[in-house]
C-alpha cells in the first residue's frame, strides 16, 4: 500500500492538497481520528454503496437507507461529517492520495528546537563545611578515645590518670597566652559571621532575582514553556500566554489552565517533540481520556502543579490591573519565559523593593486607556488638579507612584 512513487503524480498531488484543505481536520490517512482513516476507504465501500454521494452529503445519504452508511454513522457515535462541495473527480483524487500515500519520512526535529537545559550551577560550599565539621567530630572523638586508652594504661600501671582537660580548656589557655592575636582573630570571626548573617537575612523569603538561585520546582508534568509559547520562526508553537493563563486580563490570578485547555491541542497531538508520549500520557490520565478509543472515560485526577510564585498573603497583587490596565508584557515580570525557560522559575525577586522601584520609575501609559481617562478627567477638573498634573509632568512622564502607587493601602489591606 505504501509506495515510494505514486504512478499518477498529478492526481496524487491534487488529492494531497484537497486532503489538507478539506479532510485533515477530522481524518488521518492511516489512523482513525474524529472520523475513520481514509486509507482503504474505497475498498471498504466496494459493493456497499456510493462513496461519492456519501462524502458529498453524508446526512442525505443516510436518509436513502443505505445500511453501510448507517453502520458508519453509528460506529462514529453519530458525529456528522460536514457536507463537502467536491466533484467526483476530486473525491477520487483524495482517495487515490490516501491509498498511495508514501510512508512518512522520519520527522527531523525542527530547526531551532529548544536546546537542552544548561547544567545547573549549584554552589557546593555548604557541603564542604559539612564535611569539614564531620572530620573534626571524628578527630575529636578519636583523641578522646586515645586519652581514655592511655588513662586506662596509666591506671593499670598504678599512676594517676591525666587531668581531664578538654580541647576548649586547651584553646582557652592558648588564647590567654596570646591575648592580642586571639582577640584579633575573634573580632574577625565575629564581624565575618555578622556580615554573613546580615546578607543571608535579606534573602530569606526571596526566591528570584539576581542575588539568589531562582526557585524552579520540579513539576508533575514536564511542561515546556519555551516550546509552547516561543516564537514560531524558531520552530516553536507561538501560543499566546493568555491562551492558557486566560485569567491574567480579567482576574487577580493569571490562573493555572485546567486540563481541558491542554486537550484543545493534545487530543490530536499525542507525541511530544522532546519527551515522546510519556508526558502527554500524564495529561490523558489526569483528564480521563482514552487515546485508543478516542473518548473520555470520566476518571479524572487533578494535576498537582507546584505553585512557583508565592506572594505573602499580606501583599495584594492583581494581574488584571497590570495586564489590562497597565499594559505590561508578561515577560517584564516573569522574565524570558518564552525564550529560555523550559521549566517555569521565579525570575523576579517579588520583594517590596522591587515592586516600588517599578512603581517609581515606570511611565503610566495614559493614552487610550479607559481607566486613566477617568483619572485624567478628574485631574483636569480643578485648578488644584492642574497644579498637581504640572508637578507630575516635571520629568515629562506620570509614574505609578504619582498616581498613588506608593500608598501603603494600595497593596496592604
Amino acid at each position: 500500500m505504501a509506495q515510494a512513487q505514486p504512478e499518477d503524480k498529478a492526481t496524487y498531488d491534487q488529492g494531497a492538497k484537497l486532503f489538507k484543505g478539506n479532510c485533515a481536520s477530522c481524518h488521518k490517512v492511516d489512523k482513525d481520528m474524529v472520523g475513520p482513516a481514509l486509507q482503504g476507504a474505497r475498498a471498504r465501500w466496494e459493493g456497499k454503496g456510493d462513496i461519492h454521494e456519501w462524502v458529498k452529503n453524508s446526512s442525505a445519504y443516510i436518509k436513502t437507507g443505505n445500511s453501510y452508511a448507517k453502520e458508519i454513522f453509528d460506529k462514529w457515535k453519530g458525529s456528522v461529517m460536514t457536507a463537502q462541495a467536491l466533484s467526483n473527480e476530486e473525491i477520487d483524487a483524495i482517495l487515490y492520495f490516501a491509498d498511495n500515500q508514501a510512508a512518512p519520512v522520519a520527522e527531523k526535529p525542527a530547526a531551532g528546537a529548544p536546546v537542552a537545559t544548561a547544567p545547573r550551577t549549584t554552589s557546593n560550599w555548604p557541603w564542604l563545611v559539612v564535611i569539614a565539621l564531620l572530620l573534626l567530630v571524628v578527630g575529636l572523638s578519636l583523641s578522646g578515645v586515645k586519652r581514655s586508652l592511655s588513662n586506662a594504661v596509666r591506671e593499670a600501671e598504678g599512676q594517676e590518670p591525666l587531668p581531664d582537660r578538654g580541647i576548649l580548656h586547651g584553646l582557652g589557655q592558648w588564647a590567654w597566652k596570646n591575648k592580642i592575636f586571639a582577640s584579633i582573630i575573634g573580632l574577625f570571626i565575629v564581624v565575618f559571621l555578622t556580615l554573613k548573617m546580615w546578607d543571608a537575612a535579606w534573602v530569606i523569603g526571596v526566591y528570584g532575582g539576581e542575588e539568589v538561585e531562582h526557585y524552579k520546582p520540579e513539576q508533575p508534568i514536564l511542561f515546556n514553556h519555551t516550546l509552547h509559547a516561543g516564537k514560531a520562526d524558531k520552530g516553536n508553537l507561538a501560543i499566546d500566554c493568555q491562551y492558557c493563563h486566560s485569567g491574567a486580563e480579567k482576574s487577580r490570578h493569571a490562573g493555572i489552565p485546567s486540563t481541558n485547555v491542554c486537550m484543545n491541542c493534545h487530543k490530536a497531538v499525542d507525541t511530544g517533540r522532546n519527551t515522546g508520549t510519556t508526558e502527554i500520557a500524564k495529561i490523558y490520565a489526569a483528564v480521563g481520556w482514552d487515546p485508543d478509543k478516542q473518548e473520555y472515560t470520566g476518571k479524572q485526577e487533578p494535576v498537582r502543579w507546584v505553585k512557583v510564585h508565592n506572594l505573602p498573603d499580606h501583599a495584594y497583587f492583581n494581574h488584571s490591573q497590570h495586564v489590562a490596565v497597565g499594559k505590561l508584557e508578561c515577560q517584564e515580570c516573569h522574565g524570558p519565559i518564552d525564550e529560555q525557560m523550559d521549566v517555569a522559575e521565579q525570575w523576579a525577586p517579588l520583594t517590596m523593593g522591587w515592586c516600588i522601584e517599578c512603581h517609581n520609575t515606570k511611565e503610566v501609559k495614559m493614552a487610550g486607556n479607559g481607566y486613566y481617562d477617568e483619572v485624567m478627567a478628574r485631574l483636569e477638573d480643578s485648578d488644584m488638579g492642574h497644579e498637581e498634573l504640572k508637578k507630575y509632568l516635571e520629568d515629562d512622564k506620570i509614574s505609578v507612584k504619582e498616581l498613588g502607587g506608593w500608598e501603603c493601602a494600595k497593596c496592604h489591606y
Binding site: S79, L168, P217, A232, L237, I256, S258, V261, N310
Partner: protein
C-alpha cells in the same frame, strides 16, 4: 571514667546538622526556602492557588496532608450565572440554550444570531481575542495554517475562505462553546461576549478581510479600507 569529650562532639554534631539544613535551603531548586512568619503568608481566609498544606507547623501534619489533597481551583456550582457588573450585558450571562449535539449544532446555525452589530470597533476587538486564542491553529487569515499546525503537527482546521466560508455565525458560536471534531471547547477561556466578538472577526475573515455587506451598508467607507493587519 568516661573521659570522652561529650560537649564538643554534641556541639559540632548540631552545627553540622545546621549546616546541612542550610545547604538544603540554598541549593535545592525544589525547595521554596525559608519564610519569615509563615502565618502571614497564608491567612485563615481561603484563597485560590494557595497550598495550605505547605505549612505543617502552623497546622498539624495531619491537617496539612488533608489540605494538600484538596484542590483549591474548583468549578463553579452547576447552573451558576456570573454577576454582571454592567446591566446592559446581562444577556451575555444567561445560560446557553443549545445542547451539545448534532441537533443543537444545526439549530444554533439556524436560530442563533449575534447580539452584537458588526462595526469596525467590534471587529478590532474580535481581532485582539482572535490573535490570542485562535491564531496559533487557524492562522492569521484563518486559512488553517497557524504555528501549532505548521510547527506542532496538529491537523489543520478548515480554512475560512474555502470549506468554512459559508458557516453561519450561530454555528461558529456553537463550536467555540462546545468544540467540534478536533477543536476543543473554549467556553472556559472566553466568556460569551468575547466569543461573539471572535465570531465577528471570523465573519470578517470569511468575507475575505472585509466588513460584511449589512455592516458595509451603514458605513461604506469601511468596506473599501481593508484592515492592514489582515491583508
Amino acid at each position: 571514667m568516661s573521659t570522652i569529650q561529650r560537649t564538643p562532639v554534641l556541639t559540632l554534631g548540631i552545627l553540622s546538622l545546621m549546616a546541612m539544613g542550610m545547604a538544603s535551603c540554598g541549593g535545592d531548586p525544589n525547595s521554596p526556602g525559608m519564610e519569615y512568619m509563615p502565618d502571614m503568608y497564608r491567612s485563615p481566609a481561603v484563597e485560590a492557588y494557595v497550598d495550605y498544606g505547605q505549612d505543617p507547623y502552623y497546622f498539624t501534619e495531619d491537617t496539612a496532608r488533608v489540605q494538600r489533597d484538596r484542590p483549591s481551583a474548583k468549578l463553579p456550582p452547576e447552573g451558576t450565572i456570573a454577576f454582571a457588573e454592567d446591566p446592559t450585558k446581562v444577556a451575555f450571562h444567561m445560560p446557553y440554550p443549545y445542547a451539545n449535539t448534532n441537533e443543537g449544532y444545526e439549530a444554533a446555525g439556524l436560530g442563533l444570531k449575534s447580539p452584537i452589530a458588526m462595526t469596525e470597533a467590534t471587529v478590532a476587538q474580535g481581532k485582539v481575542i482572535y490573535d490570542k486564542f485562535c491564531d496559533h491553529c487557524h492562522g492569521a487569515k484563518g486559512e488553517g495554517d497557524g504555528s501549532v499546525v505548521n510547527n506542532g503537527g496538529h491537523p489543520p482546521p478548515g480554512s475560512y475562505t474555502t470549506v468554512l466560508k459559508n458557516i453561519p455565525e450561530g454555528k461558529i458560536f456553537h463550536v467555540i462553546t462546545y468544540g467540534k471534531g478536533m477543536m476543543g471547547a473554549h467556553a472556559s477561556q472566553l466568556d460569551k461576549e468575547e466569543r461573539w466578538l471572535v465570531v465577528q472577526y471570523v465573519k470578517y475573515l470569511q468575507n475575505g478581510g472585509r466588513m460584511t455587506s449589512e455592516a458595509a451598508g451603514d458605513s461604506t467607507a469601511l468596506a473599501t479600507t481593508p484592515n492592514p493587519a489582515v491583508n
